[in-house]
Symmetry: C2
Subunit: 490 residues, 2 copies
């Protein structure tokens, strides 16, 4: 199976698409820009969801659910938000179908909505319209709510997981009594995302501020985590927005503070989406297929018997089931693949394609010697170990694989992060290798726009940890106080 | 707080609505018929989801995700389905908004879709259109997929949880090589639902076939579980459909069987929704508020200190934290409510309203005597026990409460199930007490329709376990072979 993947170095985009399809993660549907997330892809998403949900709850958040539809007029209530979101949206105009005289199904024109409904592209407006009724006093604050939902943004050019018209995501929407508390929440959540990316997805990220141009529509500040893909492009993997009092003012949400004074409520919102699936794939996979970090792998260990005839299989099945049960008791997900319809070589390639972290093979000689062959997906290396050591060996190996995938990604990021000090180098760096480029910028939107126009590179973020350093803008030559992160991006 | 609930016996509908609002489960949104599920309500739904998901996976199912939008033409592909679902739907006709010359947000008429998209009311059509590409041979079968999703059915008269325009649900969609296997799956899933209702929701149900009139649009057979609410009305709590080859034929999904013969694939679908929340409330709650079975309670135990001054609180907090930690280590969810803004009496009423199964109170005398006061929500009874026995006592008590709530519901169902043999009794039984009425029916759609018209009672199902018994139809007097279940319903 794996041999049908396009070579990553020949055509990265095609390799990505091949991989998503052939590893059974997702496919395009008949509905333009909407994907079908297939069971294997969805199982990874479920793992991502479960781990994030735990992190959200551990930081005091609760889940809730708000309507899919938003009245059109809500989009005009927050001035900046309207610019950003009242654009490519799915618009519901009618609420009934009927059979025409010709017997065809048509829209019933008598069932036209007075006000059109927009399928949510994001939920700040509908949620703040609810918060208005929930908040009177400082005692009602903070509100720390998250929502797992589908959203729709009408995209013209779509790519599986990376940019789709409908996608799944979570959106946190919090309300606070003070500016400081809201800012702290914004920061806290970008840290949660960064820690999730690193500890579960095995992807090191750069945390930073978005430039004004790249901010969320309606935010005073947007923090982002930026990850580096293997083709040298950046991918924004999560954002956390400090919304100030903008939405509270737009929806008139005031509260009485401890001193009895009325004030507008402070807000944040933050989200990650099924786009993370794209990051997970592009950060680690190779020409043989996916490489899934063990902590997010729906299937962590597969056991493949290598046998001739049922007589041999019996003993292997017995040994395999013992291993399976023992590992499962240790919280590890294991499958014993005894299908007689496919040869071991086919199975090996299939599980490599699907990125299963560990493969155990049991052959006739293994049975004799009481050994097993253990192959790890990340390095493709194999070793034969005593069967009796399996329960000690495999949990350690999974941890080792998780750490190794992360180390490799950290190394890749390090090797592909460049300090660039002049325009010529900037261009050639972008064209030669891509990567994260730390360079000086004069701080103006004008320069930012020109750089984007001429190179397609954008300011991914102004890293939190970018030190003060006097320099000159690579484009305008004007003075700059710190480097920012440039890259071409997804 | 509880005193503001309408009395259940005075106005059941108002009591229900009060309870949903005051216990903070959900509220109406500005979007007609769409509700906001608030954190406490959503936490119960999350419990329901988690337990059902485990049961689905234990029976071999996996999750996936299909598009929100369905092309209009898909609805005309299955003849019966179009009748049932191509009606009150949200119709997306445009994909862009713009600013008008007056500066208002308007629909961009140039961005009109060639074919309208329908927000899914159910997903058989879009899913079978995908299955078409997934199934070639018997080796690709069975497909056992479930989807957790939001769906939209434009409802004119809505009630929180019971009937809303948008609701959350799961929909299983399976594909099989043989009729027998599909029928077995249909039966298996209605049994899963029944067992979930009984073992987790503490609601006994009657399983049976739907009459032809009440079948899912496109199904050859629909099985349902019917639950009895405290006002004597029935509530359909889950359905499982045997779809025959209808959708396979509509979407041309054929497979090669083991003998190399082409045949259409056999299908089932099955679902439960946030409607279950309505059932959970109406089956158990009383005039003091919710009664949540411990297995689905987001908060199982609350500890309330009764103190004067912080000096007293300190010792109680110490005792409470010890209890909290010990119970949590046993997998029990506990909250210590040491708010100084509310008095104990207020807190007691609040947790009763919210249906928290167990309340522990610690007063000064308890501290002295090393005792605690334990109150159970289901019976409202209290007892004082040695603090040292808490870890033994509470887990047992939770099991006891779960069982008692179920026993009470079983008893209620028993007392409110009637065998009725003539029309006069049928009418007076409906008007006097409501309840489940087992009566003979001549098997015709005509009689069924007339009974509905005259009494608003419908055939809820033909129970699987209804024994053969000669009788006469209560309406037409024609011969009948078995009793069916009548009731007025939600």
């Amino acid at each position: 199976m794996a041999k049908f993947l396009t070579n990553k170095d020949d055509n990265y985009a095609q390799w990505y698409n091949d991989l998503v399809i052939k590893a059974d993660l997702a496919e395009n549907s008949v509905v333009r820009g909407c994907m079908v997330i297939k069971p294997y892809g969805y199982a990874i998403w479920e793992k991502i969801q479960a781990e994030l949900d735990k992190l959200f709850k551990a930081t005091g958040h609760v889940n809730a659910y708000f309507p899919l539809f938003i009245p059109k007029s809500f989009f005009s209530k927050e001035a900046a938000h309207v610019e950003g979101f009242a654009k490519e949206c799915a618009v519901v105009t009618h609420y009934r179908l009927k059979l025409s005289e010709k017997g065809e199904i048509v829209v019933d024109e008598t069932a036209k909505l007075d006000e059109e409904l927009i399928v949510r592209p994001t939920s700040e407006t509908i949620i703040w319209n609810s918060y208005k009724n929930w908040i009177q006093s400082y005692r009602d604050l903070p509100i720390l709510i998250n929502q797992w939902a589908n959203v729709v943004r009408w995209e013209m050019r779509t790519r599986l997981f990376l940019r789709t018209t409908e996608f799944l995501w979570q959106e946190g929407h919090t309300a606070h009594a003070t500016r400081e508390e809201a800012e702290e929440e914004t920061r806290k959540m970008i840290n949660v995302y960064a820690s999730f990316a690193e500890n579960f997805m095995a992807i090191p990220v750069i945390k930073g501020y978005k430039s004004e141009n790249e901010r969320f529509a309606g935010a005073l500040d947007t923090y982002a985590i930026e990850a580096l893909m293997q083709d040298g492009k950046a991918l924004q993997a999560g954002t956390s927005h400090f919304l100030g009092q903008n939405f509270a003012k737009a929806f008139d949400v005031q509260f009485t503070d401890k001193n009895g004074k009325l004030d507008y409520v402070w807000a944040t919102s933050w989200g990650v989406s099924t786009r993370l699936m794209g990051a997970l794939i592009m950060a680690h996979a190779d020409n043989n297929g996916l490489i899934i970090p063990p902590k997010l792998a729906p299937l962590q260990v597969v056991i493949v018997p290598i046998y001739k005839g049922d007589g041999q299989l019996e003993g292997m099945a017995k040994a395999a089931m013992k291993i399976k049960e023992g590992l499962e008791a240790r919280g590890i997900t294991v499958k014993f693949d005894d299908r007689d319809t496919h040869k071991p070589g086919f199975k090996f390639a299939e599980y490599e394609l699907k990125g299963v972290p560990v493969r155990i093979a049991i052959g006739p000689r293994d049975l004799e010697n009481n050994t097993i062959e253990v192959a790890r997906r990340d390095t493709l290396s194999k070793e034969t170990i005593p069967a009796d050591s399996v329960f000690e060996h495999i949990p350690k190996l999974l941890t080792d694989i998780q750490n190794n995938i992360l180390s490799k990604a950290i190394q890749f990021k390090k090797e592909n992060t460049y300090h660039v000090d002049n325009w010529k180098d900037f261009i050639s760096r972008l064209d030669d290798t891509g990567g994260f480029i730390m360079a000086h910028w004069d701080g103006t939107a004008e320069t930012e726009a020109k750089i984007k126009e001429e190179t397609k590179a954008t300011i991914r973020c102004i890293p939190f940890d970018s030190p003060e350093e006097a320099g000159k803008c690579i484009y305008s030559g004007k003075p700059s106080k710190r480097r920012v992160l440039f890259a071409r991006s997804y």
